[in-house]
């Protein structure tokens, strides 16, 4: 077991759902069937369930960690859950599904490889299903897996599953999602979650767990366009490393190789990669999401917020951004308002030049009239920054294509933007 885990990949997936659609039961089922719930956790759950006068074991209590959540029986925040199988290690970002928690869904979706969308087989595609899928598409989660749940309540009928699949596919054709997969399951009974069901003989696809263990995530990072935002300058200033000047950072895109000719932004100077250094020794090449230290052949001025790229493959250098923004604050987004903006390791100020439209995240309808952007709204806006940023489209690179906005009075993160 120890050896296989050392070679296993990390997969992050997000779930969203409300109290009744079986999300907590599904997570509980995955944790339980993969033997990731511990005995003392299970005993505590049983005790708490009994004390609350409920029957059985309420697996939702496993994900609801805060006092107020336990009291109200709802998930408020993003909760992170961990489990591993011999093939992969999984991080679940478990988020609430109600519209008033859109910001939490967006947060959970921002780093996910896979979005898990649950549909109640009795109800078909509902508003919440559409919302989750739209958020997954906006946040460019590479893989979408649609679990048609509660199949036991529709007698495991193929027609019920096919009808929902068709309904979802019709709707998803309007979305920007590449890879959609459907699985008929019963989280409660365990059908097709970890173990294959003998009640869905008509279904020849994988179980949910098999899908999660095997979905190809190798190409989820951009391996074409070299982007290295300088995070920190390492200068030991010791006798042993007197002239050492290394640029530390996490590779945001492309494969960097020793000897590559590179350009530094914003200066535009060109030089070569002299060395890719790590504590474990020098590397011939490095790729996302590795954290390394890059040494250059020439002694040029470069600091935090600058970027190392390839000469013939540069990001857009601009002060004008067009973004889809998800708003987090109870104070509405201000047209002509000024905010601090963070992008990669850069920081600047920006002004909201124009609010183009508000997106209805249940229908994708663009509202050009109502431009009051409140908490949990998603809108398309135009920003002007105080200094040039080195950006890519979010579609091409989730790291160099994303920004956050910070309120200058409260210091709170008030918005998350995806560059168009």
């Amino acid at each position: 077991m120890s050896i296989s885990i050392e070679n296993s990949e990390l997969l992050r997936f997000t779930t969203a759902g409300s109290v009744d659609d079986g999300k907590s039961t599904l997570i509980g089922r995955m944790l339980y069937d993969s033997k990731s719930i511990f005995e003392d956790q299970y005993e505590k759950l049983k005790e708490t369930t009994e004390r609350r006068g409920e029957e059985g074991v309420n697996l939702a209590l496993l994900t609801d960690g805060l006092r107020s959540e336990r009291e109200q029986g709802i998930t408020i925040d993003v909760a992170y859950r961990y489990f591993a199988t011999p093939k992969r290690k999984f991080i679940i970002a478990d988020t609430p599904g109600h519209i008033q928690y859109t910001r939490n869904m967006v947060t959970g979706a921002s780093t996910a490889n896979v979005a898990l969308v649950l549909i109640d087989a009795r109800n078909g595609v509902v508003e919440q299903t559409r919302r989750h899928a739209i958020i997954a598409s906006l946040l460019q989660i590479p893989h979408l897996v649609v679990c048609v749940n509660k199949m036991d309540l529709v007698d495991y009928k193929e027609e019920a599953y096919e009808a929902i699949k068709e309904e979802f596919e019709n709707f998803a054709s309007k979305l920007d999602v590449v890879d959609v997969h459907f699985i008929p399951i019963s989280a409660l009974k365990g059908d097709n979650v970890v173990h294959r069901s003998d009640k869905t003989a008509w279904y020849d696809g994988p179980t949910l767990m098999y899908y999660l263990e095997n979905v190809h995530i190798g190409s989820d990072h951009n391996l074409i366009d070299v982007r290295f935002p300088v995070q920190y300058v390492v200068r030991p200033n010791t006798d042993e490393h007197h002239d050492y000047r290394g640029y530390a950072g996490r590779i945001a895109g492309g494969v960097m190789r020793k000897g590559d000719e590179v350009m530094l932004l914003p200066s535009g100077f060109t030089t070569k990669i002299a060395k890719i250094d790590t504590f474990d020794g020098e590397l011939e090449q490095a790729f996302p999401p590795m954290s390394v230290t890059v040494l250059l052949e020439d002694d040029l001025d470069l600091s935090r917020g600058d970027m190392i790229v390839r000469v013939n493959n540069q990001p857009e250098i601009t002060q004008d951004l067009e973004i889809m923004i998800s708003w987090f604050s109870d104070r509405p987004l201000q047209e002509r308002g000024k905010y601090t903006i963070m992008h990669t390791t850069q920081e600047a100020r920006c002004v909201v030049k124009e609010i183009r439209y508000k997106l209805n995240i249940n229908s994708l309808h663009r509202d050009l009239e109502d431009k009051e952007i409140r908490m949990n709204d998603i809108a398309r806006v135009v920003l002007r920054t105080t200094k040039p940023l080195f950006v890519d489209e979010y579609r091409k690179n989730r790291i160099t294509g994303s920004v956050i906005l910070i309120d200058e009075g409260t210091n709170n993160t008030v918005g998350a933007g995806m560059i168009i």
């Binding site: 995070q231 920190y232 530390a248 950072g249 020794g281 956050i404 910070i406 709170n412």
Partner: protein, 319 residues
């Protein structure tokens, strides 16, 4: 320290997992994420400090910090809140480590705080100095004017910690407001604060207990001996095995017996349970961790005080 220039394919392969496709194995991805956070703290804050308990998680943190700033030194001091109730092995190990890394160590003493009347010692059989650490920690953070305190807490440890951010904002009283946390997206961490406020930062949030052990094993990181099975005098209280120690009075019915045990977490001797174990090597420990059915904090009596004991302590400033 290892040879800084190693061009062998083994380094490349080690970074990438078994074959050179552009995939990192999960331990390398976690390592990279933690290094990113550590560097982000050094870049965004003026005066960070690393909270060092002597346990395996804070040993992992110092090891990752060493990697993050290589070949430079770790650019912040370590802060140990010393309850005076430590496993003696932990203190020896701490002092050796500090000397090896060449970092500064600051010790905040709970005993001194008690002597000065700043805090009051708990009384009774289950007395613990765990809660007293909060006041001493906050006092040290204030005295040192630290604006970021790095901690080795992990989200898989406890359900309140499952909701914790990497960058966790604390008000001027050091309090955590779990319902009003800043959203964290992508690689963007907002460390902005008002004067007098500070951040707790948790670079190993996404590691599980098994990840930590696996990583310490492949990296050959030395650990205090209490993490391996050894013979020790213990007694049972409320279903937990406690190491015999001079600070915890025993009830008449609590009999001492010698057993093979090890620690899964290491806090004070007064509240850290030890586990029956035959695992005397790292491989045996990993085998045990990957098949165990009880959480590591299952043996911490400080967490057993109530259903939300951790959340309540965290709100006050515990880490």
């Amino acid at each position: 320290m290892k040879n800084p220039i190693d061009n062998s394919p083994s380094v490349q392969q080690k970074m990438a997992g078994k074959d050179m496709n552009y995939n990192l194995n999960h331990l390398r991805e976690l390592e990279s994420e933690s290094i990113f956070i550590l560097r982000e703290v050094a870049a965004q804050f003026e005066n960070p400090v690393l909270m060092f308990s002597g346990g395996k998680d804070s040993i992992l943190m110092t090891y990752l910090a060493q990697k993050a700033f290589h070949p430079g030194r770790i650019p912040f001091p370590l802060l140990h809140i010393d309850t005076g109730h430590n496993f003696p092995e932990a203190i020896t190990f701490r002092d050796d480590l500090v000397e090896r890394l060449g970092v500064r160590l600051i010790v905040g003493s709970v005993q001194e705080a008690i002597d000065k009347g700043m805090v009051t010692e708990e009384k009774g059989y289950n007395a613990s100095r765990n809660g007293l650490q909060i006041a001493v920690l906050l006092d040290e953070l204030e005295k040192g004017k630290y604006d970021a305190a790095l901690g080795g807490a992990r989200r898989d440890e406890e359900k309140a910690r499952a909701k914790e951010r990497f960058f966790s904002h604390r008000d001027e009283f050091g309090q955590w407001d779990p319902k009003n946390q800043r959203p964290e997206l992508w690689n963007l961490f907002n460390g902005k604060k008002q004067y007098g406020e500070h951040f707790r930062v948790f670079p190993i949030s996404n590691w599980t207990e098994l990840d930590v052990w696996q990583y310490l094993a492949i990296e050959n990181v030395p650990l205090p001996s209490v993490y391996y099975a050894h013979k020790r005098m213990v007694f049972e209280r409320d279903g937990i095995l406690l190491a015999d120690n001079e600070f915890t009075p025993r009830r008449p019915e609590e009999e001492l017996k010698e057993m093979m045990v090890r620690c899964r977490t290491m806090g004070d001797m007064t509240c850290t349970g030890v586990w029956k174990s035959e695992a005397t090597t790292l491989d045996a420990v990993i085998e045990e961790v990957s098949t165990t059915r009880v959480t590591e904090r299952g043996g911490r009596s400080d967490d057993k005080r109530s259903e939300t004991a951790m959340e309540d302590r965290k709100k006050k400033g515990y880490f």
